[in-house]
């Protein structure tokens, strides 16, 4: 198990800075995720950890040893690529055995290790096949197997599930979690899928514009997003964001598009703010009630356990998640924002208030 530390990492390509100063400490055995939209620099950072790219400035430490100048082979990391990067001209067996062959392991060691790993990832029956003869999920397993067989200090995974279909992705997610528990090797995982990040990781770092926006356990990111970007990025469907105005300080009341909400006193306020509320934090009812506001359903998407409903009131739209089943498009509904679930952001800095 290895602790990974990044200090002041910056990286420029042809004068454009894509990573603008990253400091991170990833604990031993931790499952750590870099989350962010494409182009945020997360993959580049992973490549820097792997040694495939050099940071422009900054140092990388594995267990307090500076590895910045070591080439990839000497870092003892294993990497799983989005495209799996399987060698098309080798059998599954040879693919998994590749890292061992590089290390010139003896014949029977290779044989034994590969079989062990193949059992672990459920590929015993496919060892003689070529990658082109495998399904997407099986290829994914080969890539994993090839990473595992190394018993590396650090696992690096670059969007390993994004090429799979939705159902398989969920299965593999569970499997990854199981593998991590069994092997407990420090893992850095890159994804743009917030759900994946939340379900897998011990901690998540959200990247945007080459910077870490927030870093912490997934649930904390969800509950207390540090800024508007994180708030919008995490959660599906995304948080509703509306303009809000402070109408009185004592007690604190804000006006969100004409709806007055009284908030707890221990919060910070500004005159003009942005208010965010997650779809599940809006209470919906099909019968009128004095504390609720009237709106019209524009679109209703029944999803089984719950419905996603887009409602229109006062010219603005709001996405709501509800367990009510009898909501139809065009229908009048009544809703209420749950005050303690309202997030407030500074409209200038976009920071959480």
């Amino acid at each position: 198990m290895t602790k990974v530390e990044l200090k002041g990492i910056r990286k420029s390509f042809d004068g454009t800075e894509v990573i603008k100063g990253v400091d991170l400490l990833i604990e031993k055995g931790e499952f750590f995720t870099f989350l962010g939209p494409s182009g945020c620099g997360k993959s580049t950072l992973l490549n820097i950890v792997a040694g495939l790219e050099e940071p422009t400035t900054g140092r990388i430490y594995f267990d307090d040893r500076d590895v910045t100048d070591l080439p990839p082979p000497q870092r003892d990391v294993a990497m799983v690529f989005q495209s799996y990067a399987l060698y098309p001209h080798m059998s599954v067996f040879e693919n998994i055995a590749f890292p061992l062959r590089v290390r010139k392991e003896s014949h029977h060691v290779v044989e034994e290790e590969v079989r062990k790993v193949a059992a672990l990832v459920g590929l015993e029956r496919h060892l003689a096949k070529r990658p082109s003869q495998l399904s997407g999920g099986e290829r994914q397993r080969v890539a994993l197997g090839r990473a595992i067989v190394r018993r590396p200090r650090v696992f690096l995974m670059d969007e390993p599930l994004s090429n799979l279909d939705a159902r398989l992705r969920i299965t593999m997610r569970t499997e990854l979690k199981r593998l991590h528990r069994e092997l407990s090797i420090t893992t850095i995982y890159v994804t743009h899928d917030q759900e994946e990040a939340m379900s897998l990781s011990d901690r998540v770092a959200v990247f945007h514009g080459g910077r870490i926006q927030q870093c912490g356990p997934a649930i904390e990111l969800y509950r207390r997003p540090a800024n508007l970007f994180v708030a919008r990025f995490i959660g599906s469907p995304p948080m509703n964001v509306m303009e809000a105005r402070l109408v009185s300080r004592m007690p604190p009341v804000v006006d969100v598009k004409g709806i007055r909400v009284e908030l707890a006193r221990d919060r910070e306020f500004k005159d003009r703010m942005l208010a965010g509320i997650r779809p599940e934090d809006v209470e919906l009812s099909s019968t009128p009630s004095p504390s609720m506001v009237e709106a019209v359903v524009d679109v209703a998407e029944p999803l089984g356990v719950y419905q996603l409903v887009e409602i229109v009131y006062n010219g603005s739209r709001l996405m709501v998640r509800t367990e009510l089943e009898d909501i139809r498009a065009g229908q009048r509904v009544y809703f209420k924002l749950i005050p303690e679930r309202i997030h407030l952001f500074d409209p200038q800095t976009e920071r959480r208030l």
């Binding site: 082979p73 003892d76 690529f81 990067a85 590749f98 890292p99 590089v102």
Partner: protein, 279 residues
């Protein structure tokens, strides 16, 4: 189904042209090769396989066959190795890539006749720049030892860029992640080259080899202009021998026999490579 039948109509013009201008002449040449035919003196009689039998005792033919094989193997081998070196070192992106590619393409695009003239002048014993720069007095095109090698060098100059460009295109098709993955797995560059690059490039290499081998085997213009086959026929290839027999003395029978041999050899070469490719 209507589509399919219509398809034939689209193929028709090409098929007619190809049949008339390539396939028919090929049968014709075979027919000619079974004759003693001497256009100048209007001699023409069927002679069966006599011409083919004479091939075996025709020293000049055997010499030409050997020259052709030597030229082909040496130039194609060199072009492949050098082309690979160039391709590997140029595959990274760099600024001015377009201009460099154009410059590198230049030798390939020049008329072979022009490049042969250029090299003939550079090889000139007295006034040639090669001897001047090397500070030697080598009779490049005149000595039996150098002449064929000089022709090989010219061919290498002319086609290495072509080989390199095709190999480069082949390299670019290989996903970079395969290299990265191998690197992370601890493989050194040489190991990656042998175990990943080379096997994955194999189809492209074979295609290049196929093209180049066939091209080199039927070489004509370059040597015809550079040395005309001399000295002492040490640079006379099969195509040149066939051409001389055909058109300097209009012996269409025997000339066609040699031409037929060139065709058969090229056929064997193609079958050989296509076998390797489809394996």
């Amino acid at each position: 189904m209507k589509d399919r039948r219509e398809g034939y109509r689209f193929l028709l013009p090409a098929a007619v042209v190809l049949l008339f201008v390539t396939v028919y002449p090929l049968f014709y040449v075979f027919w000619l090769s079974l004759h003693r035919r001497h256009l100048i003196f209007d001699i023409s009689r069927f002679s069966g396989l006599e011409n083919y039998a004479f091939l075996l005792q025709d020293e000049r033919f055997l010499r030409a066959l050997w020259n052709t094989v030597y030229f082909t193997v040496l130039s194609v081998g060199l072009e492949l190795v050098l082309g690979m070196v160039v391709a590997l070192s140029l595959q990274r992106a760099f600024s001015g890539r377009g201009i460099v590619r154009a410059l590198v393409l230049l030798p390939w695009a020049l008329p072979t006749v022009v490049s042969a003239r250029m090299w003939e002048w550079m090889y000139n014993t007295d006034f040639g720049i090669i001897n001047y720069l090397l500070g030697v007095d080598v009779n490049w095109l005149g000595s039996p030892f150098w002449a064929l090698n000089a022709a090989v060098l010219m061919d290498v100059w002319k086609t290495t860029p072509f080989v390199a460009l095709i190999l480069m295109a082949g390299l670019q098709v290989i996903p970079r992640e395969l290299y990265r993955s191998a690197m992370v797995d601890g493989a050194g560059s040489l190991y990656i080259f042998w175990r990943i690059t080379l096997p994955l490039l194999k189809p492209v290499i074979l295609v290049v080899l196929l093209f180049r081998t066939i091209d080199a085997f039927r070489v004509f213009d370059a040597i015809y202009v550079l040395t005309g086959g001399g000295p002492a026929n040490t640079t006379e290839t099969l195509s040149i021998y066939a051409y001389k027999v055909l058109f300097q003395t209009l012996q269409f029978g025997y000339g066609s026999t040699i031409a037929m041999v060139v065709f058969l050899c090229v056929g064997f070469i193609s079958v050989f490579y296509v076998r390797l490719l489809s394996r």
